[in-house]
Every structure is written in structure tokens, then in C-alpha cells.
Amino acid sequence: MRWLILRAATAAAAAVMVLAAGGLFSPATAAVPVTTGASTTCLQLDIRTGYCRLGAEAPEGTSQPGSAGTTSPRRPASAAACYSDWSNKVVPCSGSLGSWSNSRDCYVQPSAANPLPGSLLFEGHTDGAVYSCVPDIGDQFQLSYSFWSATPPAGPDPAQLAQEAIATLGLQAITVGIVPEAGAGSVGLVGMPVWMWVADPTATTFGPATGTAAAGGVSVTATARVDHVSWSLGDGTTVTCGRGTPYTDAAGASRSPDCGHVYSRTSVGQPGNAYPVTATSHWTITWAGGGQTGQEQMDLTSQVDVQIGEVQAVVTG
């Protein structure tokens, strides 16, 4: 849904609600009458089409929450930094068309026409500069325009750029290393050491990983590394480890020096007769740029199933 811009003057009406209804001209959904009985009144009519462009207000002394249209944000609250209402999607915060402006819903950069003061595009001003505004869908519909601004339009928020930088890292959960090995073909034993470790660690599974995003002259670099790995063994035990030590045959029946466990019961009776073992890697991500710094946490989880049995002595004769 597209939302129309509230006109400042009329937005002063407390009961104003913007009608969604698919924009200016959507006959099937936007057929908002100028007046609906005695309960609603159009505040801004498109005189050419006859559709109401701006909301309806409840009559005095009444309150009609949820009726006569509903309000909602123009973009999802969870949307990332740069969001286009034209295409209803997250867009890169920068590109050949300039830096994205959520307020103008377009990419902004100094006008290539480089108009001089006195030009219509200066809007009567003699200072500042003229910028172009081009929607993310390009200009095939002649949607771009120019505007004057006293100062360069604000670039993207470094915190928002940091999210882009983090997204470029492609962080992944670890590859689980465990003995006894996961899967149906391997069975560990009660009372025998279990070794856990991060198998084949890479920059994307354990860090450090570094990525950069830039827009509008602002560059933000994010660095991510795994702080620790939490192993939930499926029997109620949780062990916190670092990278861990890979098991080798030379280790025999010894315990892991830094990341291990010993089961005291078999996994018989568990779903699939196996313990679900989850390894949650806790990432710490720091970022800096645009005069700001920040830190974020991210958890990524892997899971394997481990079968644990027991040896029973059989006395004969």
C-alpha cells in the first residue's frame, strides 16, 4: 500500500486518519466517497478523479477507533535502513543514483545539470544547491525531479549503514565437531568422554570477519567474531566453550582439554533415541564509521543428534 503525504496544515486535525486504499487512483479499493453518510468527511478530495486523498474524521463527540480507515506506518517497523515505498522493498542505501532518502523516497545527489542561482530549480534561493531525486525504479516513468537544499541532504545513518556492513559478512552457524560423531551410524557410551569443537572454522563461522558499507561519503566497517559457543547437550547440561579441540585417535579415551561432556544416561527414550545437541555461537560485532561506533550481538545455532548407549556386562557360566 502506498500512503499519501499528510499535508501539514490539515494534519493538525486530531482525528485525521490517512486512508490507505492503494493510493490516489484505485477504484476497486479506494472508492472513498466525499461524504459517507453523516459519519465521515473527506479532508482532501482529488477533484479530478473524485477520490478522497486524505482521511476521514469522526464527528465531534464521537470516537471511532479502527473505523473509517486505519493508520499504519508507511514501511514495516522491521524494515532496514533504506526502504522504497515505490517498490515496497529494502533498497541499497547508495548507488550510481546517489544516496537513498527515506523521506523523499528516492536517491539524492547533486544535480548533474548544475543549475545556477536564478534558475527555477533554485526555488528562489541564492545559496545552497540543487539536487536530483530519482526513485529506485529509475526514471522510465518520468518520476524524478530536482529540489533545492541549503545544505547537502543528510547521508545515511551510520547505524543503518552498519546493518548493511553486517549483512555483507554472511555470518553462519558453526560446523559442529563432536565425538561420538553425530548420526545413526555412531553410538557413544555412557561414562565415556564426549569432545565438542568448532569444525573447520572460517571467518564466516567463527570470525574475525570484516565488512564495509558506504553511502553518501559515509563509510562504516563492521568486525565480527565469535565470543563463545554454548553447547546444549540435550540432557539438561550446557557447556560454554571457545573453539574447542578436535578429537584425534591419539587422544584415546581421555577427556577434551577444553570442551567436553560425559553422559550419565543413554539416549534411549529420547526422540529418535538421540540427544539433540545444539551449538550456539555468540557473535560480538563492533562497527565504526561516520563518527560513530557501536556493538551488537548475534546468535547462530547448529544442531546435531548424538546417540549414547551403554555397555552391559554379561556374566556367563
Binding site: 479530478r48 528562489g124 525531479y145
Partner: protein, 199 residues
């Protein structure tokens, strides 16, 4: 027409505004761009009757109202063009509108073009009535326009009309027109609530 008591009262009010720096009261009517208020020498009988410098004040008001009403005509001509011809640059909107109205107009044209809708025909201004004037810089004139859209259609890509059922053939639109240095007179706000035109 213009030479009516209402006009005389309005001019008396203008003079009061010019002296007292307040907003103007009611009703200067211009039936066409050339039919704007001229000097008024009649006796208004108003307590705010003009001092000796009233003629120049009235002339300034007449000039402002004439410029504003002409701007309103240009505004509707330009919006007709923008909504009819998708090749007309959006920057043309800046010739007739500024501020919030410019933002809103650009958005309206953008949305229509994106939906591949096109206007045919043009609006007709059947009356323009100046409802207020403040000549302190930036000079501002408010105008009520009766806009007849009976010859206007808006069609989609297949040529089908997308007009709302029961669209009023004429509506009253309240406009604010401001003169700013370097930009001249432009429309800064329009309000249309579907009110019928008077009379």
C-alpha cells in the same frame, strides 16, 4: 461582479490590515484574470474607511489579488499539463507551486504516472474569489476557486475511466498563494473537501 458592497467591505478591511498588520477579511471576486478589482472610490460606510493614502493601498491589494488569481490559473494549467502529458518534466511543478503544495503535487503526479494513468481534458475555473490578503512580505493571498472538472477524465492504460462514481462536476478549492523573493507568486497550499461551489 466586482463593484458590490462585499468588495467595498473587503477593501476597507484591507486597509485596516495594512495599518494594523492583521489578516484580511472577506471577498474580492474576480470572474476572470482580467476582471480583477480596480480602484474603488465608493463610500463603504465602514468604520475602517480609508485614510488619505487608501488609494495606493487599494491599488497594491488589487495588484496582489490580480497576481494571485493569475497564479491560480497558471497552477491549474500546469497541473493539467503534468497530469496529461507524462513527458512533462516534474520540475515544471516548481513554476507554479512551492513548499508543501509542491511536494504534494510532485507526489500526485509521480503516483499517477507510475500507475500509467492519464488525464484528458482540462479543468475550468468558473470563479475565483480572493478571501484574504496580507501584503506584508511575503505577501499572501487566499483564493477560493470553483473548479469545474466536467470535461476531465482520467483513464488507465487500457483507456478505461477510473473516475469515482458520483464525482462532483465542480468543487470549491481553497488556495493559498504567496509571493516570495526570487520565485514570484506560487501556490503553497490547496484544500478541497468536496464543497459545492457557491451559488
Amino acid at each position: 461582479m466586482l463593484r458590490d458592497p462585499l468588495l467595498r467591505r473587503a477593501r476597507a478591511s484591507v486597509l485596516a490590515v495594512l495599518v494594523g498588520s492583521a489578516a484580511l477579511g472577506l471577498g474580492l471576486t474576480a470572474c476572470s484574470s482580467t476582471d480583477v478589482p480596480g480602484p474603488d472610490t465608493s463610500d463603504t460606510g465602514s468604520p475602517a474607511a480609508a485614510p488619505s493614502s487608501s488609494s495606493s493601498a487599494v491599488a497594491a491589494t488589487d495588484e496582489a489579488v490580480a497576481a494571485a488569481t493569475e497564479t491560480v490559473r497558471s497552477y491549474y494549467a500546469a497541473t493539467d499539463e503534468l497530469l496529461s502529458d507524462p513527458q512533462t518534466p516534474l520540475d515544471e511543478a516548481g513554476r507554479v507551486a512551492s513548499g508543501d503544495e509542491l511536494d504534494l503535487l510532485r507526489r500526485q503526479v509521480q503516483e499517477q504516472r507510475l500507475k500509467d494513468l492519464r488525464q484528458s481534458g482540462t479543468v475550468a475555473l468558473t470563479s475565483l474569489t480572493a478571501t484574504g490578503a496580507n501584503l506584508q512580505a511575503p505577501a499572501k493571498v487566499t483564493v477560493d476557486a470553483c473548479v469545474d472538472v466536467s470535461s476531465v477524465d482520467v483513464v488507465d492504460a487500457s483507456g478505461g475511466s477510473v473516475l469515482a462514481a458520483g464525482r462532483p462536476s465542480a468543487s470549491l478549492v481553497h488556495l493559498t498563494v504567496v509571493e516570495s523573493e526570487g520565485l514570484g507568486w506560487t501556490v503553497t497550499q490547496t484544500t478541497a473537501r468536496g464543497e459545492p461551489c457557491a451559488g
